[in-house]
């Protein structure tokens, strides 16, 4: 389920969309990116994890949006003109990811992605495919499916759609 082989390469490198959260630059395979849209009104969905900002209307489709800063346990940032939503085509359907700023589409040569370091980055290494270098800068290459699937396992299971204990509602019913 993790994309161990990112974007197939053309002439020695795959394309990535790079974006930033605070001072760190991230990269996500361009093949996962569907479009980039400006920040818009998000309808919060109750009883979802904090990093799930809510849902938006993307041309008539309801698309969930997550805040990557919250997901990565970074402090919240002010929304700016540059804040935007990257719509990715994930296994769970279209998803919006809020980032501080989108930078560019960069080609990272295959040899320039090294395994993630064990420490020293703010993000759990589980979410990283590796550390890439392009244009003299360093990017944290994200495994976006991992980032998005973790929630299913940890978040939703604990919330559980039908988690209401029938015994509880039963007793509560006697109140009437």
């Amino acid at each position: 389920m993790s994309e161990k082989t990112p974007a197939q390469s053309t002439a020695g490198g795959a394309k990535y969309l790079t974006f930033s959260l605070g001072t760190e630059e991230y990269a996500v395979s361009i093949l996962k990116v569907q479009e980039i849209i400006g920040m818009m009104d998000v309808t919060p969905v109750p009883r979802t994890p904090e990093f799930v900002l809510g849902v938006i209307n993307l041309r008539g489709k309801i698309v969930p949006v997550i805040d990557l800063r919250t997901k990565f346990d970074m402090c919240r940032a002010e929304r700016t003109d540059e804040t935007c939503i990257i719509v990715v085509d994930a296994r769970t359907g279209e998803m919006g990811i809020v980032v501080d700023r989108v930078s560019e589409v960069a080609t990272i040569p295959e040899g320039e992605i090294s395994p993630p370091p064990r420490f020293g980055v703010s993000v759990s290494t589980d979410y990283l495919l590796g550390i890439g270098r392009s244009g003299g800068r360093v990017q944290l290459v994200l495994d976006i499916e991992r980032v998005l699937s973790e929630h299913e396992a940890a978040g939703l299971a604990s919330l559980g759609g039908d988690a209401i204990d029938p015994a509880l509602s039963q007793e509560a019913g006697d109140v009437r």
Partner: protein, 698 residues
């Protein structure tokens, strides 16, 4: 110029045609249609029709992969050639039953035992080799078509068999069954599904003497034929799941194969004593007209187009967007300004058309309840036999239409209810006679439209519900502490409690204590409701009300804090601004609002959903009272923003099921609003109060 109609000619023409030139392919497609129209064997006809469809898709430039479609058409034509040769159909075999086979005088032979030696039958269907050569079996689209067509044929056959049980001389019914077995046999053979073909062949053989009027239909024939239909269904389902067919055969396959070959050896499954032919009721009451022969049950293709449901969903989505886009234009200040009255009129005109389009696209998803009701005929028959009752099912309003998804979702709860009605509702014949009733009971299933809802009513003329027995059982099960003061209606509601069962013994039909609570939950999950009415000794009536569709929700838009939510109108009992005197607070148990002397628990939506900035004082806000199951709960909101019809959408797989929320909808301003799920919300609210209020114990 006459078009060639022999499959072989078509094949030759196809091989000569230039795939780049679409005109001749259109002509070829028309020829294939013509060939299909005159084809003798149904299997060949089906193959030709499919070939024609493939060719048309290329000719009209609709094919996603024209080369592949042409190749598929070629394979189909080849199969049609192959299918034609080795199966010399006796004349009249599928031309309907217009003329019985002249060789056999139609003397009504004594049933069953008459077949001393099985008549010689047509040779087994063409071997799978022909198909393998043609490479047909690998085409998933063909297999899917076969599966869905076979299912239709089997449904029609089942229905016809049930008609036959009541009227063994119904020629149309015999032919329908025969045609189903025969067509499935042919197509399965061509596609290389040997077990299906063989089985269908046996089933066909079983009925051949009936069709030829050498044997009267009845008794064991009926049960055998029905079991054959079930087996074929299982086989076809198996094909749908694993077309490669490497799986084990369904249980009982061999035994049933043998049974079909020797129908005179009665199968143990059917105790003949339990059989309850319609005639048993005698001439006192006029027999209700037997259901019309299912001649129209989807088998003719001329006026029908098969459309994938996801395309219909897509259409609904796009039209929904159009509606929103139009209302945004209509609300635009430029349009509303005095200067452009003409423009406003035109925009309104567009709006009218768009809404018509929405109604139409909704209606495309509607299907009649007929198939579901037909299934119930079988359920009644089988249940009645198993529990030794005589029951007749009378249906009415089966043409009532509702959303396809709801029809599917309604089937299971309805099966439960119908079984219950037969098993628990209708008394055994002896008890009925003792009670001055005819020995055979009647179960009525009625459907109709009422407002935006569909009402399905299931009534029986059985014993009715016994309040005292219900209460006794509830006490015994610990579901109730005391039955004192419990109204009859409240006692009836007990049967929906989990773990409640009134059946004295546990049968395999019902009485496991899972039935009705599951039924109620299933119906509530469809935004529906079940009501019970019962008169002791006279019978019980269950009334199920569900919306026409889940694709559109009729709702009330409410505001809480900065958020807006849609509350389904169907669950709203009343909205009101409470007087201070109507509010009560119970220590540790939360708040109550008095509603015409009834204390209704009051919950704050803002607290349940953790919203800021909402009105805290109930007398300043509004209270929406929701009806759910057997009770009410009230929810405090800031304001009502008006009625709105919204297109229901899922929040996506990532968000999944959110307690208290059934989905989302795009509101008039383009933002998303969440649709509340009243039963879920109430459960959530009670849980909230329970966890927050420490001293909840009674």
């Amino acid at each position: 110029m006459t078009a060639p109609t022999a499959p072989r000619d078509l094949l030759t023409l196809l091989d000569c045609s230039d795939p780049g030139d679409l005109a001749p392919i259109g002509a070829l497609a028309a020829s294939a249609d013509a060939a299909a129209a005159v084809a003798g064997a149904p299997a060949v006809r089906a193959l030709l029709e499919r070939a024609a469809r493939k060719l048309w898709s290329v000719a009209e430039d609709r094919a996603r992969d024209p080369v592949e479609s042409l190749a598929a058409a070629r394979r189909l034509l080849a199969a049609a050639c192959a299918g034609e040769a080795p199966e010399p159909e006796p004349a009249g075999h599928d031309a309907g039953a217009a003329e019985p086979t002249p060789a056999e005088p139609a003397a009504p032979a004594p049933p069953v035992a008459a077949i001393a030696s099985p008549p010689s039958l047509p040779p087994p269907p063409p071997s799978a080799d022909a198909a393998s050569d043609a490479g047909i079996e690998s085409d998933p689209e063909l297999i899917q078509e076969f599966v869905s067509e076979a299912q239709e044929y089997l449904a029609a056959a089942e229905q016809a068999l049930l008609v036959l049980e009541g009227n063994p001389d119904d020629r149309d019914a015999v032919d329908t069954v025969f045609r189903a077995f025969h067509t499935i046999k042919g197509v399965a053979a061509v596609l290389g599904f040997a077990p299906v073909a063989e089985f269908a062949h046996r089933a066909e053989s079983l009925l051949a003497p009936v069709r030829d009027r050498r044997v009267r239909f009845g008794g064991d024939y009926a049960s055998l034929a029905l079991r054959a239909v079930d087996m074929l269904r299982a086989l076809v389902d198996r094909v749908a799941v694993a077309p490669a067919g490497s799986d084990a055969l369904p249980a009982g396959f061999t035994a049933l194969m043998d049974a079909l070959e020797h129908p005179e050896a009665p199968a143990a499954e059917t105790p003949p004593a339990a059989a309850a032919p319609r005639d048993a009721e005698g001439g006192a009451s006029p027999q209700p007209a037997p259901p019309p022969p299912p001649a129209d049950s989807g088998v003719s293709h001329e006026t029908w187009v098969r459309v994938r449901t996801d395309r219909l969903d897509q259409l609904m989505d796009i039209v929904g967007e159009l509606v929103i886009a139009q209302s945004m234009v209509a609300a635009d200040p430029g349009v509303l300004s005095q200067r452009s009255r003409d423009l406003a009129r035109k925009v309104a005109q567009v709006g009218k058309t768009v809404r018509e389009l929405q109604d139409l696209s909704l209606s495309l998803r509607m299907v009649p309840l007929r198939a579901t009701f037909q299934k119930m005929t079988r359920v009644v028959r089988d249940t009645a036999r198993r529990v030794g009752r005589q029951v007749e099912l009378v249906t009415d309003g089966e043409e009532t239409e509702l959303d396809r998804k709801l029809v599917d979702a309604l089937a299971d709860p309805l099966v439960h209810m119908v079984r219950n009605a037969v098993d628990h509702g209708i008394e055994p014949p002896a008890a009925r006679i003792a009670g001055g009733k005819p020995p055979g009971g009647t179960v009525r299933l009625r459907a109709s439209h009422a407002g935006g809802n569909v009402v399905v009513q299931l009534s029986d003329d059985g014993a009715g519900l016994d309040r005292d027995r219900l209460v006794a059982r509830a006490l015994e099960r610990g579901l109730l502490e005391s039955g004192d003061g419990l109204s009859e209606q409240d006692a009836f509601q007990l049967i929906f409690e989990p773990g409640f069962s009134t059946a004295a013994s546990i049968t395999d039909v019902s009485g496991r204590g899972v039935g009705m609570d599951v039924v109620r939950r299933a119906i509530e999950s469809l935004n529906g409701r079940v009501e019970i009415a019962s008169v002791r000794g006279r019978g019980t009536t269950f009334t199920v009300r569900i919306p026409l569709t889940l694709a559109i929700t009729d709702g009330m838009l409410v505001r809480v804090g900065g958020q807006r939510y849609i509350v389904p109108s169907a669950s709203i009992r009343i909205t009101l601004r409470p007087e201070p005197t109507a509010l009560r607070s119970v220590a540790g148990r939360g708040e109550l609002v008095m509603l015409r002397g009834e204390a209704v628990p009051l919950f704050r939506l803002s607290r349940i959903f953790g919203l800021d900035g909402a009105i805290e004082d109930p007398t300043q806000g509004l209270v929406v009272v929701l009806e759910e199951g057997d009770g009410c709960s009230a929810f405090l909101v800031d304001d009502l923003l008006g009625k709105q019809q919204v297109v229901t959408k899922s929040l996506g797989e990532y968000v999944g099921k959110v307690p208290g929320v059934s989905g989302g909808a795009i509101l008039g301003d383009g933002r998303v609003g969440l649709i509340l799920d009243p039963p879920g919300l109430t459960a959530l609210a009670r849980q909230e109060v329970w966890t927050n209020g420490a001293a909840f114990a009674a």
